[in-house]
Symmetry: C2
Subunit: 384 residues, 2 copies
């Protein structure tokens, strides 16, 4: 087997918006470049729900997708993933991949997990079996999954969260980060390409904690940095305030990833604050419920008003699903619980999200982002 020697991850800023903190860049990985700002479709268990891999690449034009360490660890498990040569080989996605550390999923387990200094013990949601996630273990699992970008193991605080809990949790996340960094530095990637560690800023909605966390995270000098613990139920104003604060502290020459965000409006606003990367299950989850995001606003396709509408789902976007099928046909499928309805709506919503960040990149490059963003925010949040 020949050894493939990729470039070490590199991030190059290519344009800045004069009226906001928005910027464009190119992030190089062992599986090719990513143009930022970018939205990353979520493929929880190694599949972006209802979407084929070639549809992700050619129709949706996704540049990077997510996998979830918690889910992939339980199924198909690290043994099979290693045998396959990593998740890329297992599911056939040949572009960049990022894995979440499992911190968020473990936090979501509630009573079925116990957080200790060493790590987290939890019961599988599948069969109730007991497992232990430590910072070291989670780095090893992500080495085996083989993502290009791997996330530090953190505790994601809930909302609301009292100050003391948030402070202690942040301290634990920082302590775990050092162990993650040590583990990554003392191990090698398994499949011949680099894996870049992104640490995660926590601190709930407390300014002083967020500042302290952002400074600590920045001091670790990793390839990129993430903001976690937002979009968990707090008001949008808090999300924007914390994001703005943290973006001012995280280094400008590294990509900034806002985890689990969000609506099209959230994404546009946070691009303006200096965020480069986003992920969210909303476009696919809402698609399966018949909620469509379009360039003109939000459509509930189950609504009677679309019954006779034979126009394309969203001709502005291009792409197969959005232009080939009509609203009336999609409504018919969704009402009849046809699987194809979930497929079309999922491809459409992801096509829209990728279109939105592509348009944002173009507007930033042109220097017209801020005006466009203000207009677009009004459009994308209205209900049609």
């Amino acid at each position: 087997m020949s050894v493939f020697l990729p470039p070490i991850m590199k991030f190059q800023l290519t344009a800045r918006d004069p009226k906001s903190h928005a910027r464009t860049g190119i992030l190089e990985t062992g599986h090719g470049p990513i143009q930022t700002p970018i939205f990353m479709p979520v493929g929880t268990a190694g599949s972006v729900k209802a979407v084929h891999q070639r549809e992700l690449e050619y129709d949706i034009q996704a540049q990077i997708i997510l996998g979830n360490t918690y889910h992939l660890y339980l199924r198909p498990g690290t043994e099979l993933l290693e045998k396959a040569g990593g998740l890329h080989k297992f599911n056939g996605w040949s572009k960049p991949l990022l894995t979440d550390s499992g911190g968020y999923q473990v936090y979501s387990l509630g009573a079925n997990r116990k957080i200790k200094d060493d790590g987290v013990t939890f019961k599988s949601h599948i069969d109730g079996s007991k497992h232990l996630f430590t910072p070291e273990g989670v780095m090893d699992i992500q080495r085996t999954i083989g993502a290009d970008i791997i996330m530090a193991f953190d505790e994601c605080t809930p909302y609301p969260c009292d100050y003391k809990y948030a402070r202690n949790s942040m301290a634990l996340t920082h302590q775990w980060l050092k162990r993650c960094v040590d583990r990554v530095n003392s191990t090698e990637p398994k499949y011949g390409y680099e894996q870049a560690l992104f640490p995660i800023v926590q601190g709930s909605v407390y300014k002083d904690l967020r500042e302290q966390s952002a400074e600590f995270i920045a001091s670790q000098k990793q390839w990129g940095n993430a903001i976690g613990g937002l979009s968990v139920g707090e008001p949008h104003e808090d999300m924007y305030a914390m994001t703005s604060l943290v973006c001012g502290i995280l280094p400008a020459d590294k990509p900034r990833y806002l985890m689990g965000v969000g609506t099209p409006e959230n994404i546009l606003e946070c691009i303006a604050l200096g965020i480069d990367m986003f992920d969210c299950v909303m476009p696919t989850r809402n698609a399966r419920n018949g909620m469509l995001f379009t360039a003109e606003g939000i459509i509930n396709i189950r609504n009677e008003k679309w019954k006779d509408d034979l126009s394309p789902i969203d001709a502005a976007l291009g792409g197969y699903a959005s232009t080939f099928y009509s609203k009336a046909y999609l409504r018919h499928l969704v009402i009849n619980k046809e699987i194809l309805g979930a497929q079309i709506a999922s491809i459409h919503n992801l096509t829209f999200y990728l279109w939105l960040v592509k348009e944002a990149r173009l507007k930033i490059a042109e220097g017209t982002f801020s005006t466009w963003k203000d207009e677009m925010v009004q459009k994308v949040k209205r209900r049609l």
Copy 2:
């Protein structure tokens, strides 16, 4: 609007197997040619479940698909279908289309339908609303759906069925056929292309009734002829005996369509008896349960034995789903109830069915069908 003048449906036999009644042919329709023997994927409510229209055309290489009059009449309804310009325009399938008459679905409703001389009253499975299907009404509905091949309104007898019921039912089907023919002859297609009526032979598993019915159906001199009321629970030997008997009576220069059949083995055996067209929900329904048909035999992908099998689903077939994804990945998806699992399995099974009839056509043309068929039957029915 310019008027499109298509050729009237034409069927040309192109080869005959010297050792069986198998034959190849080309059936010309207003939406292009169909090479026979052919398998027709079932798109009950205007969608072949879990499969995009372009996947049907380019991956599966389907040449004609089915729609169901009963389902399409209830939803989306004839008003919307007429507004769209027919089902082809509504769902974007631009190749030939056949609609079932609803006879089979109405028969399946059991206690919720009442058969009278005039027609059938039934309650919708969706909302319990009452409807009447008459031979004339069903022809009008099929005119509005706009299929290239439309089926006569028949009564599909259950199995087992006593002789007297089968005889009376057959008489009713014949009486209704005359009304169907009259209606089709006295009305025009709505969208500028011909619609060919296929009558249906009934008679349960009684030889004299099947002979009588086949002779009556043949006397109607329609564009093609169908055999109904089989594959409803009778032993395979009865299915083959009735099919053989009826094929000997139906004219050789018209396509013969065996409705609702069947397994790969059934299809191969019935091609040998002189059948040209097949449809069945089995490839898609079984796919959704994780049962795969391959050139080497039947796979239950949920089985532990496929867990680590990183080989393609079925490299022999070509096509995206069957060669891009591995058995282990598909198993992972199916076990995790991922929608993509149903999608891949559905495309794969249909690709296999279309591959099987394509191979049959090649073997008939080469004059090697019978030997190949005997070998293939042994392969396709074994469990791997």
